[in-house]
Amino acid sequence: MSNIRTMDFDAVIVGGGGAGLRAALQLAESGFKTAVVSKVFPTRSHTVSAQGGITCAIASSDPNDDWRWHMYDTVKGSDYIGDQEAIEYMCSVGPQAVFELDHMGLPFSRTENGRIYQRPFGGQSKDFGKGGQAARTCAAADRTGHALLHTLYQGNLKAGTNFLNEWYAMDLVKNQDGAVVGVTAICIETGEMVYLKAKATVFATGGAGRIYASTTNALINTGDGIGMALRAGFPVQDMEMWQFHPTGIHGAGTLVTEGCRGEGGYLVNKDGERFMERYAPNAKDLAGRDVVARSMILELLEGRGCGPEGDHVYLKLDHLGEKVLNEKLPGILELSRTFAHADPVKEPIPVVPTCHYMMGGIPTNIGGQALRQDKDDKDQIIDGLYACGEAACVSVHGANRLGGNSLLDLVVFGRAAGLAIDKSLREGYETRAASQSDIEAALATVQAIESRTKGEKVADVRKDLQNTMQLYFGVFREGKSMQEGRKKLETLRERVNNVALEDTSKAFNTARIEALELTNLLEVAEATAIAAEQRTESRGAHAREDFTERDDENWLCHTMYYPAEKGIRKRAVNFSPTTVDTFEPMVRTY
Amino acid sequence: MVRNITSFTGNGVADWLVQRVSAVILAAYTVFLTLWFLALPEWSYEAWSGLFAQGWVKVFTLLAILSFVAHAWIGIWTATTDYLKNTTVRVLVQLTVILVLFVYLILTFDAVWGV
C-alpha cells in the first residue's frame, strides 16, 4: 500500500460538525478548493445534539446587554484560566457570527418584536455580576444545535464545498521540516486509503466524551483529532478539564438541556428539597455547571439521592405547565419519555452528572493555528495545522465552560480559522511537499492494526478503558487513586497495541474504524490522566479531594501535555484583552 | 425540473387539476344517469334514445367522454411510468392505451350524433 492516491486541496477540514462546516464555508465562499472529511454524513455530527442555544450578547432580550458582561461571565466561569484575549474576541465578534447564521436561514425562535429569542442559562449575569440573572442564550426551541448544523451544511451546499462524507482521517502527514501537509484518510465505503494533500489542515474533530463509560456524547466522539495530534508529537492543553453536565438522564446518559433550568425548572433531592439553594444561594440552579454537578454528587454521597439505589436526583419541570413545555422544550419531552420513561409534564426527570465536554484540546491562537512551546516556553506556531471547536483549546472555556458557549465557540472560531487560512493562502503560503516516506509514516497506525491476526477484541478493551476513566478520573479526583488509574492505563496501552481486527474486508468495514478510534481514545485518556494527576489544586471542573482549594500561585496556568515525555509543561494564561481592562482572578461564588 | 412530453399536459399542476376536474364531471354524469334510471317508470329503448336526443344531454355526454379520456390517460401514464421501467414496453403500452381511448372517443361521438 505504499503508493496510495493523492488528492490535492487548498484546505482540508477534518470534521463535519459546526466548527468544521463554519470554517469550510468561509473558505469555500472565498473560492479556495476546500474539502470536508467527515466520518459521518455532516448532519450526523455531534453538534446536532446541542439543545439549549448559543450564548451571545445580541441585545434582544435586554436592549442594554453588553458583550463585556458576557466576557466577564465567561472569564469567571473559566475559573480564570480562560485566555482573556480569546474570550474578548469571541464575545465581541459573536453577535456578527450569530446574525450571519440568521441570514443563512437558521430558524431561531422569536420574540414579539421579531428578534431572536434568548433564554437564561447558567452563569449568566448583567453588569459584571452585579445586575442579576441575564437571558443571553439564543435558541431555536430546544433544538438549536440541530438547526445550526443543518443551516451550516445547507450553506456549504450553496457555496460548493467538496464533501468527503464517510471518510475517516487516520493520521497527520508531516514533511521533512515538521510542517503539516495533510492527512491520510480511508474511504469507509470502499476501504481505499488516500493521501489528502493540503496547505492547511484543520482539525474540527470535536470531543472525546467516549473515554468515559457514562457520557452525553455521541458514539462517534472518540477524540480523533487529539489522537492524531498526539501521535504526531504535538502537545495538547488543559486535558484534565472535563465538564460533567449536571443533567444527563440517569441510566441512558442522554442530555437534558440546561435550558430546562433556564426556563424555571429546578433540581430536588429525595426529600423534595431544592438543594441548590444551599450551595449557590444567588444563582441557585443556574450556577456554573461544575458547581451544580459537584453539589449533586455531594447530595448523593450524603444519602439524599433518589430512587432505590439513591444514585440520582430529580429535575422538576411539571410546575412550568404543559403549554410552556410544549413550546419551549418539545425535544426534552420526547427524550425524557423515550429514555427515562418519565413524562416531564407530570413527573420529574431522573438525572445525574454525566461527562459532557472537553474544555482542553489542541492549543491554538485566535486564528486557529495550532501551537507548541519552544525551549523558552514561548508559543510557536505549527505550520499547516489548525484546530477549532471542541477539539481546540483556544482557550475560551478555561477550567469550566458556560452553557451555550460551545456553539458560539464553534461558529466564531470556525469562522476565524477560515479567515486566518484565507489570509495565509493569499499571502502565498507554501511548504515542501511530503515524501513517500512521510506519507508512509502516516499509515503506520492502520498497518499495525491490519498486521495482527490474533489479539483482543476492540469492544473489550474499550469497555475497560471507559470504566477506568469513569472510576479514577470522574467528578471528584484523588492523587492515589489517579496514580492507580494511570497504571491501569499503561496496561491498557499494551492491550490496545494488541487488538486484532476480526474483519479485514474493505467495504464499509466499521470494525476497522472502531479499532482506529480506540487508539485515539487511549491517547486522550492518557493525556487526561497525566494532566489531572499533575495539577495539584481544585479549579473549575477539576476537583481534587486531596487539594480542595484553588492555588493561583502555582496553577493559574494552562497545562501542556507532551506525548514524547508523557509529561506536562505550564503555559501562561493570557490576561491581556485589547479593548477592556483585565478581569483579575477573584473568589468564584454563585 | 423534470421534463416529460408524454404526460397529458406536460405540467404537473395542469395534469393534477385536469384529473380532479374530470373526476368531478364523471361523478356528476354518473349521478345524473343513476337518478334518471331510478326515476324511470319503465325501461325502454324509446326513453333511452329520447334522453340522448336532447341537445344538453349530448353536450354533457361528450364532456363526460372527454373527461374519461383525460382522466384515464393521466392515471395510466402515471402507472406505466411507475412500473414499466423498460422504455420500449412502456411506449408500446402507452400507444395501445392511446389508441383504445381514441377509439372510445370516436365511437362515443358517432353514437351520440347518430341519435
Partner: protein, 235 residues
Amino acid sequence: MKVSVYRYNPEADRKPYMQDYTLDLPEGKDLMVLDVLNLLKEQDATLSYRRSCREGVCGSDGMNINGRNGLACITPLSQALNGKSSLVVRPLPGLPVVRDLVIDMSLFYQQYEKIKPYLQNDEPAPAIERLQSPEDRAKLDGLYECILCACCSTSCPSFWWNPERFVGPAGLLQAYRFLADSRDTATDERLAELDDPFSVFRCRGIMNCVNVCPKGLNPTRAIGHIRSMLLKNAT
C-alpha cells in the same frame, strides 16, 4: 432472544441472506434496538450499520425493524417486538445496499439538494438578524426538525419507483420549509422548479411517510401546501 439480521458483504457474498443470532438480554431493562445491535457487534464485529448520537437526533440508524422503518436508537425492543418473540432487522428498503444494514443514500441526498435547501434572499442583509414574527416562525415548526434519516422516503412506493425524478417526502418537506420561510424571497423560482409531473405530483397521498416518521412530522401535509401554492400561482 432470536435476532435475525440482513447480511450482505459485496466482497464475500453473491447474494444477501438473513443471519440468525441468539442473544441473552439483561433482565428488567427495555433495551433499544440499537443496544441490541451493539451487543451483536460485540459478538460479531463484521456486522455493519451506521450510528452516531444514539438519541434520535442525528438520523444515522434508520432501518427496517420488524417490517417497519424507524430509528434503532429510539425504538424500544418491546415496541419493536409487539408480542412477537424474535427481532428482524433489515436495511431501509428501496435503495441499494452497500453492506449489511448500510444503504447507499446518494439518490436520497440528490433529491434533497435538488430543492436548493438553503435560504435565498436577494435583498442586502441588515446589520442585525432579519426580523420574523413569532407567527411566521411558527410556520416552520414541523418542517425544520427533519433529521434526514430517510425513513419516510424509503417507505414511499412512489419514491421506490422513481427515486431519480420524484423528490420524495423528505425533500418536499424541506422544499416547503423554505417556501414557508418569511425570510426567503425565491418562492417563484422554487415553485417553477417543482412544477412538473414528477417532482411533487408523484405523491399519491398514501401517508406511509407520516406513519413512520420518527420525529412525528407530516410530509403529506407539506406536499398538500406545495400543491396549493402551485395551483394558486398557475391559475
